[in-house]
């Protein structure tokens, strides 16, 4: 028998998808039964109370969580998010129910041994409820009390070789795709740079001094599997400068039905024979492809790296060999309004250790944003407020055609007086000689 009746939550279980309510009920039952004889360090029935307070929130149409509080373990300004319930008498198990953010491994590769250790630790010292993974990518451990925080951090850092992630006005835990470890589309080693920058910027990750949150995300190719372009303050999207490599025999194989398009991804239904004109050439957004005597031709200088043709025919088409990444800045995806995509800042940079060129851009941006950014202002908002030109000055990057969506449209690059021969002043009499009033 559940501690609290939850008719509204029960309804959430009735849909076709797996429900977090069922998961919570399962964990509540598991804690009540305690088959492994765990000496729970937070209330055994905390998950019951969590369900109870959520039910009450649905009933009242308002939250019963208070906002914010303690933030971490000694010396860290992030990684722990204080959460307190405003109905502690009714739900004592969740009166103090803090969230811990734990840095996820690069590409989210785990060993089962690590996951078991993590779950055992969290069952012992926390609620047992996890969120794998939060939007930033971290392992989110939901619900523990203040005395457990240092204990958990010690265990994570000393015995599991694991650090807390970022929260608050910090650099957030950098996130990456699996990159070249398993993906043939990857234009650079996402995990290598993600790890390097995480180590390099430990201070920014753990000790808050930014105006607001700041996110790096690394996508190995323009498929953008971690959606960096839509949400990272600086997104690193893999790209290449030379030509897409074409294997004409494999193209013929796709046309002849020898290979399934899209790697066989849409095989659940009969879509008819593969039609290269309709499914590849006709869908190219820049119309830079055509068939010539059974051969596929690409005008590479028109290609915008949309990846569609490569995704459809991965055996026949491959990313070029001159690889690197584009850096885009200012994206954000807030819950309410104001979502913004990244703007291209660096069209192409080689991604090679020790990444000095990239770090120079990052640090130029931070210096500008830390000085000019208002409290709770994301980089994208500062760029809009002060202009893209200011960002170019801060990063010592010259304006270039790739910064402009189309000529004579919304020009944000303005001449300065010192850049113009003779400045703004001129001899009016000399001008009038050639130009009547």
């Amino acid at each position: 028998m559940a501690k609290h009746a939850t008719p509204l939550l029960d309804q959430l279980e009735s849909g076709p998808w797996p429900s977090f309510v069922s998961d919570l009920k399962q964990e509540a039952a598991n804690r009540a039964k305690n088959p492994n004889n765990v000496e729970f360090q937070v209330a055994q029935d905390c998950v019951e109370d969590l369900l109870g307070v959520l039910e009450l929130s649905f009933k009242h149409g308002m939250t019963h969580w208070k906002h914010g509080g303690i933030v971490g373990v000694f010396g860290y300004g992030g990684g722990v998010i204080g959460r307190y319930c405003d109905q502690p008498e009714k739900f004592p198990g969740v009166a103090h129910f803090h969230t811990m953010r734990v840095a996820q491994p690069g590409g989210k590769y785990y060993t089962t041994e690590f996951l078991k250790k993590l779950c055992d630790l969290w069952e012992f010292r926390g609620s047992g409820v996890t969120n794998m993974h939060g939007s930033t990518g971290d392992i989110i451990l939901i619900g523990t009390s203040t005395p457990q925080l240092e204990e958990i951090f010690y265990e994570l850092s000393h015995n599991m070789n694991q650090d807390l992630g970022g929260s608050g006005s910090n650099l957030r835990t950098p996130a990456d795709c699996i990159g070249s470890s398993r993906c043939e589309y990857s234009c650079y080693d996402t995990q290598a740079i993600c790890y390097d920058l995480t180590q390099e910027y430990q201070d920014e990750l753990h000790r808050p001094a930014f105006p607001y949150k700041f996110k790096f995300k690394f996508d190995g190719c323009p498929n953008c599997c971690v959606a960096s372009i839509a949400r990272a303050d600086i997104s690193f999207v893999g790209t290449w400068k030379d030509d897409i490599k074409i294997d004409q025999e494999a193209v013929a194989g796709y046309i002849g039905g020898e290979f399934a398009p899209n790697g066989g991804a849409h095989s659940g239904r009969d879509w008819g024979a593969f039609d290269i004109e309709k499914e590849v050439v006709g869908l190219c957004p820049t119309e830079c492809m055509w068939m010539d005597g059974g051969k596929l031709k690409i005008d590479n200088k028109e290609c915008t790296r949309c990846m569609h043709c490569i995704n459809v025919m991965p055996r026949a088409l491959h990313i070029g060999d001159d690889r690197g990444c584009s850096m885009l800045v200012g994206a954000k995806a807030p819950i309410l309004d104001g979502a913004q995509m990244g703007s291209l800042l660096v069209p192409f940079v080689k991604v090679e250790e020790p990444y000095d060129e990239i770090k120079e851009v990052i640090e130029g941006i931070w210096d500008w944003w830390m000085e000019e950014g208002k409290n709770r202002e994301r980089l994208g908002e500062l760029i809009k407020r002060q202009g893209f030109q200011k960002l170019l000055e801060a990063t010592n990057i010259k304006a270039m055609p790739q910064h402009v969506q189309e000529p004579r449209h919304n020009p944000y690059i303005f001449w300065k007086e010192e850049e113009v021969e003779g400045g703004w002043t001129r001899d009016v009499d000399a001008f009038r000689k050639d130009h009547q009033r």
């Binding site: 906002h67 914010g68 509080g69 303690i70 933030v71 971490g72 010396g75 300004g77 992030g78 998010i81 204080g82 307190y84 103090h96 969230t99 203040t146 929260s167 608050g168 006005s169 910090n170 201070d203 000790r207 808050p208 001094a209 930014f210 105006p211 607001y212 949150k213 210096d367 830390m370 000085e371 409290n375 709770r376």
Partner: protein
């Protein structure tokens, strides 16, 4: 600016403002110190390490305050 000078300045200014607010943005502190953010950060980190200041966070934004000040520490029995 030396550490002790920064400490005295921060404690004095923050104590003065306690009647109206107990939590401060990083920018408020660097303005009090009249230093560039990167320089101010080193001193502010040291103040936190030595317990002169403490962090507060909503989860999305971080702030700084003198330890135990404000309503929350008392209300949550964590002071």
């Amino acid at each position: 600016m030396e550490y002790e000078e920064a400490k005295a300045l921060i404690v004095e200014k923050l104590t003065k403002k306690l009647k109206t607010k107990s939590k401060f943005y990083f920018n408020d502190l660097s303005k009090i110190l009249e230093l560039k953010p990167r320089v101010a950060k080193k001193l502010i980190n040291q103040l936190v390490q030595e317990g002169v200041l403490e962090y507060w966070s909503s989860g999305s934004t971080s702030m700084y305050g003198l330890p135990g000040t404000g309503k929350q520490a008392g209300a949550e029995h964590e002071d």
